[in-house]
């Protein structure tokens, strides 16, 4: 049954093949080790924080003695800031992507915008924080120094290029035959955009947006000089606010074992939220690809 007519592969070549395939497999396993270790430590150290009473329902006390409190204000603060950043960046981002694919196309203006958006993806995230600091924080814009909404602006600056790039890719995938068919039937451009292009690209846009949100959620650097920090819970976006990444960042260097445990618990919470966003995004992407 086996191809006896073919010349035998020499033992040396077969050995090389085996060894190299083994090495590639080994490298893949090595690649997975960090993830496994990180997840192990997050669960191992984070769960003991989760099981502390009031971890999710109380705010950090800041008290030198006794319980360091929970992380409620950090979770809600992160959600508030990222929600605002989403509300700013997603519509603008999709709008710009629509301009690029539907109107600008390959014109000089569209290509300039494209180029600058590309450049923006390469800007280290801390620079957005500095930018917002000099533009909004120093001048006490809106009557506050550090404020949650200023952090949201910094985060949205970081999310914008991600949303624009991924939306453009998805919008380009909408077959032009669909647009042409609708236009040929006499549909106006804006109806084509809203009734044909956007619905078709919907799942892809959602995927890109969710990935951008997940990214914004985990960012620390843009918050350092825009939101600063707080212990208590506040819903006023014009105030300093607690956030999960900042809480972890501050607690990492704490020598207090209790605060380090809080940092691990917060990290576990943050990773769970970000992973869920990622998995949902991938799920939507894979379903729409199959459809």
């Amino acid at each position: 049954m086996s191809a006896t007519a073919l010349p035998q592969i020499s033992a040396r070549r077969r050995r090389t093949d085996k060894v190299m395939r083994g090495l590639v497999l080994a490298a893949t396993i090595v690649a997975l080790i960090p993830l496994i270790l990180i997840i192990y430590y997050l669960i191992h150290k984070g769960l003991s924080a989760w099981t502390q009473s009031g971890f999710f329902t109380t705010d950090p006390t800041g008290s030198f003695f006794g319980s360091p409190g929970g992380i409620r204000s950090a979770i809600l603060g992160s959600l508030e800031i990222v929600a605002l950043a989403t509300v700013i960046s997603i519509p603008i981002g999709i709008g710009v992507a629509l301009y690029l694919t539907e109107y600008g196309k390959e014109g000089w203006f569209a290509n300039t915008v494209r180029y600058f958006v590309d450049v923006m993806t390469g800007v280290p995230s801390i620079m957005f924080g500095l930018f917002v600091y000099i533009v909004l924080v120093v001048g006490r814009f809106g009557g506050s120094g550090f404020a949650a909404w200023k952090g949201a602006v910094a985060i949205s600056l970081l999310m914008l290029p991600i949303v624009i790039r991924s939306s453009e890719v998805v919008l380009l995938l909408v077959p032009s035959s669909l647009r042409e068919a609708a236009l040929a039937l006499g549909a106006q451009r804006w109806r084509v955009v809203f009734r044909v292009v956007l619905p078709t690209a919907g799942p892809g846009l959602l995927t890109g947006s969710l990935l951008a949100i997940a990214r914004g959620m985990g960012e620390t650097a843009p918050l350092l000089f825009t939101v600063s920090t707080a212990f208590g819970l506040t819903f006023s976006l014009n105030q300093q606010m607690n956030t999960m990444p900042f809480l972890i960042y501050n607690d990492i260097t704490s020598p207090r074992a209790a605060l380090q445990t809080i940092a691990w618990g917060t990290a576990l919470t943050l990773v769970v939220v970000v992973l869920i966003l990622n998995l949902v995004a991938r799920f939507i992407a894979s379903r729409s690809r199959m459809a």
């Binding site: 990214r215 620390t220 943050l270």
Partner: protein
């Protein structure tokens, strides 16, 4: 389908649409154009402010700000050479460790692994990108740095004959630890792009190699790697771009010493880390110096990213980049840069 159904009800041809009927079209067109213009203005304003803020330090030090080696806040002297050195060294360490593993992972997933494992394995590797960088920092500070210190000490004394690598006394936080964490952080992006590129290798090429009696490995070596080489290099450069700009994970494990370390396991500093650490307390020329550090960092990332894109476009063999690669480049790891 439904779109056409609704729009036809007007019964007019597109050529003779009344001005009022065309209003929404115009609003949309000009609205979106305005949005695009707004983005452009915003980005340009961003750079004007950035350059404006760093002007002070560049007019004082000129180019020696970038390459000079003396960063001393107490004497108000700002030459960022040691920071540039740290940034480049840590990202090169990240490349040396991360890229071979990432490429091997990509080869395994696309060529060797059983088909039904493929999807889930790629998702697992991609998940590394979803871990926020502050979490990498947390893990680095409490797990990696203290656990690896004995191994680093052994390594440094055993290989003391290798210049710069061995010989020194490792500190808890150092270039190597920072580079190692960066390697983990760039792994998913390099791997994802390599996968994309390897997937574009025409199956005829691979089948031809196999038909000639090549083993799997020989096929990979003859058909897959040469074909996707420039794409992989592009992916590696893109990973380097990320490593250069990474702030929070690095600032926690680099040791924050603004001097050129004498060995691999010495503490150092990077451009991004110095901004995060010192910006809060900076006034006057110090602030300007940090903005200038940001500018240098940005120019560096820009160059690296452009090289990366050039390689990737060249490597995609005229297909103008697959959609998924575009998505990967755009979204990138969830960790911050």
């Amino acid at each position: 389908m439904e779109a056409s159904a609704t729009s036809v009800t007007g019964g007019r041809s597109a050529l003779e649409r009344s001005p009022a009927g065309r209003l929404p079209d115009r609003v949309l067109k000009w609205g979106l154009s305005a949005l695009a213009a707004l983005i452009l203005i915003l980005i340009i304003y961003f750079f004007i402010r950035l350059v404006g803020q760093s002007g002070h330090v560049f007019s004082t030090y000129g180019i020696s700000f970038v390459f000079g080696n003396d960063w001393d806040v107490s004497r108000s002297i700002y030459h960022g050479g040691a920071l540039l050195f740290g940034t480049i060294v840590t990202s090169i360490i990240a490349l040396i460790i991360g890229v071979p593993i990432a490429v091997a992972t990509a080869v395994f997933i696309t060529e060797l692994c059983p088909r039904r494992l493929r999807g889930s394995l790629s998702i697992v590797v991609d998940l590394l990108a979803a871990v926020p960088s502050v979490v990498y920092g947390l893990w680095g500070v409490f797990v990696l740095a203290p656990r690896l210190l004995p191994a680093e000490k052994w390594f440094a004394s055993t290989f003391s004959f290798i210049p710069w690598i061995g010989g020194g006394i490792p500190t808890l936080y150092n270039y190597f630890i920072a580079g190692l964490i960066l390697a983990i952080m760039i792994l998913p992006i390099v791997s994802a792009i390599s996968r994309e590129v390897i997937a574009t290798v025409p199956s005829e090429n691979k089948e031809a190699a196999l038909a000639l009696g090549a083993t799997r490995w020989e096929m990979i070596g003859m058909a897959v790697i040469p074909y996707s080489r420039s794409g992989i290099i592009g992916g590696a450069m893109l990973g380097m771009g990320r490593a250069i700009g990474e702030t929070i994970a690095v600032v926690l494990v680099i040791g924050s010493a603004p001097k050129i370390g004498s060995h691999l396991f010495a503490q150092g500093y990077t451009l991004a880390a110095v901004i995060a650490n010192e910006f809060g307390e900076a006034t006057g020329i110090h602030t300007s110096a940090l903005f200038a550090a940001g500018l240098v960092l940005f120019v560096l990332t820009l160059i690296v990213n452009m090289i990366a894109r050039w390689f990737i476009t060249r490597g995609s063999h005229g297909t103008r980049g697959t959609g998924a690669t575009g998505m990967t480049i755009a979204s990138g790891p969830a960790g911050e840069k």
